[in-house]
């Protein structure tokens, strides 16, 4: 029996030692390994809007425009140039000549017409339809010209088109049910720098270089999108070189800072994280209460200690990524507990018997809803609870599973919540009709100010740049004064990148991927 045990031990030792020379050295040269958290579905019409699918789409498909490294201005991708007509109601795009699909067929204006008209076709479950709202038709005077005609002016169209509007091949998809596309999603064909190679569900998607790419042959031969659902695995694989690029949290950036093989890139996103206060409900219908809650929160400390990641404290509704449109005169409301308490007293609140403030017999009690599973957001909610309790409010944190959180939270004209955490990632188009105008589709906190409504409508129909900037700056002042929500910080993206990666463009990961042909991994 002892011999049996000895044999078992010997075998296990041999296995362990035999594995010894397998120390991970990073991926093979010419292969870029990018982390995604879940599987992808490459239907260019019904894409679930999840980062993994968008990331893979951006290297396989082309868009009419993309964003220039550095300043993020829209420049041509499949379009070579464009001009606006009819006060911004029509746009004419001259397409890049000589572009071919991955199957060798030529790319023409017919593909653009096919794609865009189907996105707005109600029969197609296109998730990006709202971005092209009001598109009436696409005219194609010749093979390399597409003229988009809208009902209303679309001053920011070139920004919108570069965001998520992928052009699909008409010759493969015409007449098919665009909602399913069984064959196509198994072997998608685009015009992008990389061609689809294989997708193993739950494991990875691999794409290979498209030598005929209009921007020049890619320097990499393969890009692998690895499905890694566990955050600790992402960290471990970055360290071992099993991953070259991954979006990480500030906390993991701190952890990885000591890894000699990694560098980091922080990009400011056109997105703001805030605590939404349901303006349709008592007591948030009172501006004084909203102001009090803003002053009562030490947002600077929260951003510094809980968010980190170089995220800027949010003074108002517009992140720095909106460039010239941001009104820099609006300074963040200071943390001032005394002022917060005074504002609540002014609003008519007096301490009740149980220590909680009350007004007309109603206690200042509300719940704060947060989505489950993200430690940073949960911590923000818990810290807000603690801070607002010190003002005399009875706050209950309500941790909800994602689909419940969204379903309850994203209703219009007002969500089914008192207060909640929220954010919204958009393109750099400064038009926030959806978020800050009465009845806007993302205005679940029921904010309504006729002055803002009017200014936003005016901005939408103003094409001249200087005038547009002035309008946006003015409407930000009005929103800032009202404090419809408690802005916390403007979001950043932290990209952990292997030092093997060369030529990564100066953009966030979403916008950098259309330039992936310039990246090299020697």
């Amino acid at each position: 029996m002892r011999r049996v045990l000895g044999a078992v031990l010997a075998v296990s030792l041999a296995v362990v030692i035999g594995a010894g020379d397998a120390r991970a050295q990073g991926g093979p040269p010419g292969v870029l390994q990018i982390a995604v958290i879940s599987d992808v579905t490459l239907n260019p019409f019904t894409l679930p809007q999840q980062l993994p699918t968008l990331m893979v789409s951006k290297v396989i498909f082309g868009t009419l425009t993309r964003y220039q490294p550095g300043d993020g201005k829209p420049v041509g991708d499949l379009a070579a140039s464009w001009k606006t007509m009819d006060d911004g109601r029509a746009w004419e795009f001259k397409l890049r000549p000589g572009v071919t699909w991955h199957d060798g067929k030529p790319f023409t204006a017919a593909d653009v017409k096919f794609t865009l008209e189907n996105i707005v076709n109600p029969q197609v479950k296109a998730l990006f339809r709202s971005q092209l709202q009001g598109l009436q038709r696409v005219d194609t005077p010749d093979d390399l010209t597409a003229r988009l005609v809208f009902k209303d002016p679309m001053p920011a169209l070139p920004i919108v088109l570069g965001y998520n509007i992928y052009i699909a091949p008409k010759h493969l998809l015409d007449g098919k049910d665009l909602n399913t596309l069984d064959e196509f999603i198994r072997q998608p064909v685009g015009t992008g720098p990389f061609k689809f190679k294989e997708a193993v569900k739950g494991s990875h998607v691999a794409v290979e270089a498209n030598p005929a790419y209009h921007g020049g042959a890619p320097k990499l031969h393969t890009v692998v999108f690895k499905v890694v659902p566990d955050v600790n695995s992402v960290v471990a694989q970055l360290r071992t070189g099993e991953l070259d690029l991954a979006v990480v949290t500030a906390n993991h950036r701190d952890t990885l800072a000591s890894a000699p093989n990694l560098a980091f890139k922080v990009t400011v996103l056109p997105s703001t994280f805030y605590l939404a206060l349901n303006n349709a409900r008592w007591p948030f219908n009172d501006r004084l209460v909203r102001h009090a809650l803003m002053h009562g929160l030490n947002r600077e400390l929260m951003v510094q200690r809980l968010v980190r990641g170089d995220a800027p404290l949010a003074g108002g509704p517009y992140a720095d990524a909106f460039g010239p449109y941001v009104n820099k005169d609006l300074k963040p409301y200071p943390h001032d507990v005394g002022r917060a308490k005074a504002l609540l007293a002014e609003a008519g609140f007096t301490p009740g018997a149980d220590g909680v403030l009350q007004k007309d017999g109603k206690r200042l009690a509300f719940s704060l809803m947060v989505d489950k599973g993200n430690p940073e957001r949960e911590q923000i909610a818990l810290y807000a609870q603690q801070s607002w309790k010190q003002l005399g409010a009875d706050v209950k944190v309500d941790v909800e599973e994602w689909s419940v959180y969204i379903k309850r939270g994203n209703q219009i004209p007002s969500g089914d919540y008192d207060a909640r955490t929220s954010w919204r990632i958009t393109s750099a188009d400064p038009d926030k009709t959806a978020e800050y105008t009465t009845g806007g589709v993302n205005n679940h906190y029921a904010y309504s100010n006729p002055e803002v409504d009017a200014l936003m409508a005016k901005a939408r129909s103003t094409v001249e740049e200087g005038a547009r900037v002035a309008i946006f700056r003015k409407l930000q002042e009005a929103i800032y004064r009202d404090v419809p929500v408690v802005w916390i910080y403007h979001q950043t993206e932290i990209l952990a990148m292997s030092k093997r990666v060369k030529g990564y463009p100066d953009l966030g990961i979403r916008d950098a991927l259309p330039w992936v042909h310039q990246i090299a991994v020697p």
């Binding site: 600790n232 952890t255 200690r305 809980l306 599973g373 599973e401």
Partner: protein, 297 residues
Amino acid sequence: MDQTAVLEGGMARDAGAERGVADAWRRFRRNRLAVVAFAYLVIVHGVAALAPWFGLPDPEAMDLLNQFSPPSSEHVLGTDETGRDVLARLVFGARASLAVGLAAMLVAVAVGTALGALSGFCGGWPETAIMRLTDGMLTVPTFFLALLVLAVFGSNIGNVVLVIGLTGWMVVARVVRAEILRALPQEFVVASRALGASEARMLVRHLLPQALPSVIVAATLGVAYAVLTESALSYLGLGVQAPTPTWGNMLSGAQHYVWKSPVLALYPGAAIMLTVLSYNALGDALSDTLDPRHAGS
């Protein structure tokens, strides 16, 4: 040997043929692992019960200027990612974790005893139906079912207790049924039935006490199962939710900081493991000491 006994996975069935409570206690004491386990459990439960009276800091109070601080006189085990006192969270976490474990066990024992007794005592179609249900439940991957229910209905403490309890009663039902079937033909039962004792009275006074030792064993192992399951559900984000600290959600929270501060994961992980280990060891020793079959063999 049936599956029930299998699940208990006894270690020390080979003890000698002593009888009586004093002997049982003596045999229990001889199992050093069980004695240590028992002592540990007494301490842990005592600490959990008395948690508010130790003068510990508020386990939910964040201090953003004191994140990840090392042990100090103010914070004996240091602080976590939001500056909360780790020791206080461990102690109050014990309260929630043990409460979940014990409550889930009570649910399992209540359901299992009721169904087991009903099926053993009534016979006929109720027995068939209940035993089919039990077989079926043993066939279903219950962890799947548990996580599904929590994913769709939300994981508050009540749901977690119910889900763990309702997926863990099958062993108890089988044990109780087996004990009742064993007891039914015994003389005192036959006698009391002849004397005209009511059925319900007989069940409660005579039959269930026969099953008690086995139920205690199953219940002890049930707590271990419940505590371990809560921690696995927590890892998947489906355990008891913040701000209530439990060992499971402390551990799942700490996994985000496992590189920066591994001790944050070490404490609750060790607490879970030691507690589950102790309950398992205790259950084993009890099955040796209490179960008449083993004591008599």
